[in-house]
């Protein structure tokens, strides 16, 4: 058998035991907890069993501190619907009037009720006996029979026959509610009584009103008419309870409950004439109060009205990883369980959760709807170690206290250990220690100091430092060049610059030519400039001081330098022409001057060509 199947069987056994336990309800209470030595108090023991025929046997406790003054017993059988199924409930109320034997703190021991071989006991009750003659609190004054306090400490319920004046009517159908200003979601008990001064043999065609605006639940639907004596306006009546329903208002506002109707048969059998009479009850007005806004929790669910407790449990609390755990959340108490909204279990790291199942159980206890809602959720641990299922909280509005309060569970600690070695292969797939990412990292235990200085690129020295390198190189290179310039030979410098100097002069001659056209210069200036260009070049480049030589000497010098004879002749010719033009003005027109300038340029090129090849 698998572990899950075993859990299911255990759950069934638990459920059947719980059902058995609910078949019998036993309670005991007194009308006072203090009594004078010469006074009495009433002990009321109520035993309710879910059976039509079987009776519960009551054994009174050993009342060694009390004298039993009187004892009475009443019994009522009720037919109710619980969760849609018919149920008989037999309620036996035993009332014992007790007188204390001595002063001091006394105890009424538990009473025992035996039903179907099982014994149920009540709680012991502590009573304080006061000296004789001392006035006991009003609550402790024994009246016969005193009204017992509301078992739920709720508002004082309205008397169903309050303000009723049947006058001379023999049959009256009376509808009543136990409170006419309930809160939304608070139980209102609707009762329908038939009051009769004549013999009633039966009823038929009972028609209850539509109860729009309410969630209703059957409390009592007697199958047999059982009357109780009531005296109303001095007239004795038999009061028959026909129906009792619990109503839970769904919304605030004034609600009108329509009249109920019933057909009543009076008279007996064949000898007496049987008559049938139709009766209708009076309508009822209920003013449903909204839930108070003061101190209303945020996100409050309007269905959570009543007196509820919340408990949580897991089974088991120690488990192997991968094995399922059942988380059970139970809300129990008084109110409309079907409207209850239970808190949800969120995602818990390391626990895989499956869909929850909800089970509702509703019972009637002394005219009040009580019940429980159980939410069961399967959780599967995915990692080893200690885990905690957090506390869950639910806000409720308690109509008895007229206040909101939070009911909460305790956190549950779950111990998850590794799956045992050799576990079945099928479960090994799930029995892994799954370590998911996320969550807060552990803090650091060692501290290091950090620098928050400005970064280097924001410092004053950074950019100048980067610029310093190129600047330094430029300075070095410039200095070297300067040094070379300073160390150069002037003669050599002249040789290097001879051509450019000659060209500069020719450009000057060209300018003079343009000035001649405008009449601002003379031809002699032009020819002097050309002659200076050639002689200057020959002096700087060729080392021939042409100015101090005759034409022959110049020609020989040029030929000695290796210049072609044609070039030498052309040079000499140009120099001669320039001399003539300088010293015989008007001998040269502009076109011939232009031609001379071109020849001089060409000759410079030829002279320089030889120099380069040399």
């Amino acid at each position: 058998m698998s572990r899950r199947t075993g859990s299911a069987i255990a759950a069934l056994l638990f459920a059947s035991a719980a059902l058995a336990a609910e078949e019998v309800q036993v309670s005991a209470r007194t009308d006072a907890n203090e009594v004078a030595l010469d006074g009495t108090l009433n002990l009321q023991i109520t035993a309710t069993v879910s059976s039509k025929g079987d009776q519960a046997d009551l054994t009174l406790p050993d009342l060694k501190d009390f004298d039993v003054v009187s004892r009475s017993q009443s019994e009522q059988v009720a037919f109710t619907f619980v969760n849609g199924s018919p149920t008989f409930r037999r309620t036996t109320v035993t009332t014992v009037k007790l007188a204390p034997r001595r002063e001091g703190q006394l105890t009424i021991e538990p009473a025992r009720v035996t039903y179907k071989g099982r014994t149920y006991t009540t709680q012991p009750i502590a009573i304080r006996a006061l000296p004789a003659g001392q006035p006991a609190p009003p609550k402790a004054r024994a009246q016969a029979p005193p009204p017992l306090p509301d078992p739920f400490g709720d508002d004082v319920a309205l008397d169903p026959f309050q303000d009723m004046h049947p006058q001379s009517r023999d049959l009256v159908l009376r509808a009543s509610v136990d409170r006419d200003r309930p809160f939304v979601g608070q139980q209102v008990t609707y009762s329908l009584y038939l009051l009769a001064r004549v013999n009633v043999s039966g009823i038929d065609k009972l028609q209850l009103p539509r109860l729009d605006g309410f969630w209703s639940e059957e409390i009592e639907a007697p199958q047999q008419l059982m009357g109780e004596a009531r005296i109303i306006d001095g007239v004795p009546y038999r009061a028959f309870l026909l129906r009792k329903r619990a109503l839970f208002p769904l919304r605030p506002g004034k609600v009108q409950v329509e009249p109920a109707e019933v057909e009543v048969m009076t008279g007996f059998g064949m000898l007496f004439s049987r008559t049938s009479t139709r009766r209708a009850s009076q309508p009822l007005a209920i003013d449903v109060q909204p839930l108070p806004e003061t101190h209303k929790p945020a996100g409050f669910d309007a269905g959570n009205v009543g007196s509820w407790t919340l408990t949580a449990s897991t089974d088991p609390v120690t488990v192997a990883v991968g094995q399922p755990v059942t988380f059970r959340l139970v809300a129990q108490g008084r109110g409309n369980v079907r409207n209850l909204a239970l808190p949800k279990l969120g995602q818990i790291p390391g626990l895989r959760s499956y869909d929850a199942t909800t089970t509702d159980k509703s019972t009637i206890e002394q005219g009040q709807v009580t019940g429980s809602r159980t939410v069961e959720q399967l959780l599967v641990p995915e990692r080893t170690g200690a885990m905690e299922i957090p506390a869950l909280s639910m806000d409720v509005f308690d109509p008895a206290q007229k206040a909101y309060r939070a009911v909460r569970t305790e956190p549950i600690r779950l111990e998850v250990h590794a799956a045992p070695a050799g576990a079945p292969a099928a479960s090994q797939a799930i029995a892994q220690n799954l370590l998911g990412a996320g969550g807060l990292r552990p803090i650091r235990l060692r501290m290091t100091r950090a620098s928050v200085d400005a970064p280097p690129w924001t410092r004053e020295w950074f950019w100048p430092l980067l610029a310093a390198g190129p600047v330094a190189v430029a300075v070095v290179a410039g200095a070297g060049r300067l040094r070379r310039v300073l160390a150069r030979d002037p003669a050599e410098e002249r040789v290097k610059k001879a051509r450019s100097a000659a060209r500069a002069r020719l450009r000057g001659a060209e300018e003079l030519l343009r000035e001649q056209r405008r009449g601002n210069a003379s031809a002699s200036d032009f020819h002097a400039e050309i002659a200076r260009a050639l002689t200057g070049y020959l002096a700087d480049k060729q080392g021939i001081a042409a100015a101090g030589m005759t034409r022959d000497e110049l020609g020989r010098a040029l030929l000695d330098r290796g210049h072609p004879p044609g070039t030498v002749r052309a040079v000499l010719a140009v120099l001669d022409e320039c001399d003539r033009a300088r010293f015989a003005p008007g001998g040269a027109d502009l076109p011939s001057q232009e031609a001379r300038l071109e020849r001089a340029e060409r000759l410079l090129g030829e002279l320089d060509k030889l120099r380069r090849s040399a």
Binding site: G438, G439, L440, R441, P442, I443, R444, L445, R446, M447, T448, R449, A450, S451, V452, A454, P455, P456, W457, T458, F462, L465, L466, A468, G469, P470, A472, V473, V476, A477, G480
Partner: protein, 264 residues
């Protein structure tokens, strides 16, 4: 509260030592005690201890990480995000701070919609932040200077054949310059980075409470501070949404004491 905690922590450490302790040892003792408070679940005391250390002028990525974690445990997501951002500014390789910051952001109220503004400059800065910018800047300065020195030598003595070494220096200096530029860009963006520390703050159209407000920002949201005026800061979210929020509602990731913030 912080002063009381500081006094209590000082008194406790003084009682233990009963002698004059150097400031560094005292800082470590306070840090240990704040850590112990954190580990015992007393996060209020832990926060007070960490804050006291910050008020003493201590700057430490671990201190900021722990303070961020303590604030996160207290549910103060804005302050948690601020101190975790500071931890990452001090030590961009701090994985713990990064993971905790992601945890904070998962719970942020503000979810930004739309394309990231300025081509995702914030994302780029995140990528560039871990670059060793300071070391690269120093290397850049050194290699650049060395390269030019070699060039100068080569000019003075051409026969030394130093051109190859100079080129190698310039290549490496170029790589260092790229790293420095990236890091400087990230640093410049971080100087304007801020976190919302108030639970909620209305963003106005101008630096006034009376100016119209079209949206709110909530604690933990990172944004960029672009201007300051009259007790308000002009902030821009990553998707370009811009408004003026009260100065007290946002805190700069890099406080003024840490860096030159005169030019916002």
């Amino acid at each position: 509260m912080r002063l009381l905690a500081l006094a209590a922590l000082c008194a406790a450490s003084a009682a233990q030592a009963a002698v004059t302790v150097p400031p560094e040892a005292r800082g470590n003792a306070l840090f240990d005690q704040a850590n112990a408070a954190y580990l015992s679940g007393d996060t209020s005391r832990a926060v007070a201890g960490y804050e006291a250390l910050l008020e003493e002028g201590l700057v430490s990525p671990e201190l900021e990480t722990n303070l961020g974690a303590a604030y996160l445990r207290q549910g103060k997501r804005g302050l948690a995000a601020l101190h975790l951002e500071r931890a990452l500014f001090l030590d961009p390789s701090d994985d713990d701070a990064r993971a905790d910051l992601l945890e904070v952001r998962r719970g942020n109220v503000d979810k930004l919609e739309g394309e990231p503004d300025e081509g995702g400059a914030e994302a780029v800065s995140r990528v560039l932040a871990p670059l060793p910018g300071r070391a690269a800047a120093v290397a850049l300065a050194a290699l650049w200077s060395l390269g030019w020195a070699l060039v100068a030598l080569n000019v003075l003595r051409p026969r030394a054949r130093l051109a190859g070494s100079a080129i190698a220096c310039f290549v490496v200096a170029g790589a260092a310059a790229l790293v420095t530029a990236g890091s400087a860009a990230a640093h410049r963006l971080t100087l304007h980075r801020a976190v919302v520390v108030a639970q909620a703050a209305a963003a106005h159209e101008g630096p006034s409470d009376r100016a119209a407000s079209h949206f709110e920002v909530h604690e933990g949201t990172a944004l960029r501070v672009e201007d300051e005026d009259q007790g308000f800061r002009r902030v821009k979210l990553a998707n370009g949404l811009t408004g003026w929020v009260p100065s007290a509602a946002v805190e700069l990731v890099v406080p003024r004491g840490w860096s030159d913030q005169r030019r916002l």
